[in-house]
Amino acid sequence: MSKPDPPGDQEFDAQGFARGIHELLVLAALREEPRHGYQIALDVEAQSNGVFRFRHGTLYPLLHRMEANGLIQGRWSSGAGRRKKVYSLTDTGRRHLSGEADRVEDILAGLMRMLRRARELPA
């Protein structure tokens, strides 16, 4: 009897996946136009009907890490005597968004298949 095929080349990293989802949410929020941190938080909450919500400032380490990794670019601007930081998507971020969106879709489709099958089984 042959052994079943492994589910993938790499072991699934649930924590990394959750972090990746947050990154994708930020990237998706920045897809159309540059935004400030609070606008990203509002946009993510509105677009996901409140399913995803940034709390306790968790948005900032995420934004700063993504900026350091070159996925987004932060620019300081001045207006009405105040300095504010605006984030925009970089080319790397755009590529990452499109590649990771496909990967997440695959993972979620696999998960949904499993859940549907489990629901169809008699109790």
């Binding site: 609070y38 509002l42 306790h56 400032g57 900032y60 300095r83 930081k85």
Partner: protein, 271 residues
């Protein structure tokens, strides 16, 4: 006062990242807090509730602050995180002593080979000694500010640099005057030696004054550049948090609590 300033001051105390990075984080947060609460108010949320929601969404909690600390820590802090503070201090002091010894050795080696030192003023040696101390003080400050990125209480280092620069210049000028007086005394006693004595005195005095002026100028620059930079940082701190960076300026009072040297004494905030 900005409604979020007490929160920003608390975060200023709790974050341990270098001050310029900390100010950037707080400035970004300040704008977002005001803009988000304003936006919520515009949507009909009562002001108190809007502020509370903005604080809940954007103000970092303990875990997020630690994450920000990790992200914005200096390279030096990341590299040395495995050393205990005591051990690190010993290593830093040893490295400084070694660097000073190398400078002293190189200085001595070069000077002993120089022809013009055969008739050097006796005051040149204290000037060069002060120059070595000045190098150690400048190296310590530069290491603290730009390698270790520790911007707390640099006023003492700045005062030492300014004092050593002034002392080097004063020693040089005093030495040149003392040499001149000595020369005048000898010339009065033996006018026939004027030619040869003047030929000895002139280069010795020029070398002494040149060295003391150059060292004092280098010290003055080494004082001015960080002092000016710290004044800018302190100004940004004052603009954002309502008070300048404590102990950033030479002559500013020292903090009473070394564990929290940048904690303002009278903020009246309990959180």
């Amino acid at each position: 006062m900005n409604a979020f300033q007490p929160t920003l001051r608390r975060l200023d105390r709790d974050l341990t990242v270098p001050i310029p990075n900390r100010l950037r984080i707080l400035r970004e947060l300040e704008f977002d807090l005001e803009a988000l609460s304003g936006e919520l108010e515009a949507r009909g949320v009562p002001p108190e509730q809007a502020r509370a929601r903005a604080l809940d969404a954007l103000v970092p909690d303990g875990a997020t602050l630690r994450e920000l600390d990790r992200l914005h820590a200096s390279h030096y802090r990341r590299l040395t995180r495995h050393f205990s503070p005591g051990r690190l201090r010993t290593i830093e002091r040893s490295a400084l002593a070694l660097a000073t010894a190398v400078v002293l050795f190189a200085e001595t080696f070069l000077l002993l080979r120089a022809d013009w030192l055969r008739h050097a003023s006796p005051f040149l040696w204290p000037v060069l000694g002060l120059g070595t101390l000045l190098f150690a003080a400048i190296a310590t400050l530069a290491f603290r500010l730009w390698v270790k990125r520790d911007h707390q209480d640099p006023a003492a280092n700045l005062r030492v640099i300014l004092f050593l620069s002034g002392l080097t210049l004063a020693t040089g000028i005093f030495g040149a005057l003392a040499d001149l007086l000595r020369l005048a005394g000898v010339l009065q006693a033996e006018p026939g030696l004027a030619g040869s004595l003047l030929l000895e005195w002139l280069p010795a005095s020029s070398v002494l004054l040149s060295f003391s002026l150059l060292l004092a100028l280098a010290g003055g620059l080494a004082w001015f550049i960080p002092a000016h930079w710290l004044a800018l940082v302190s100004g940004a701190h004052a603009e954002l948090l309502g008070h300048p960076l404590p102990n950033a300026r030479p002559g500013a009072p020292r903090s009473l609590d070394p564990a929290r040297p940048h904690q303002p004494a009278s903020l009246g905030e309990s959180s």
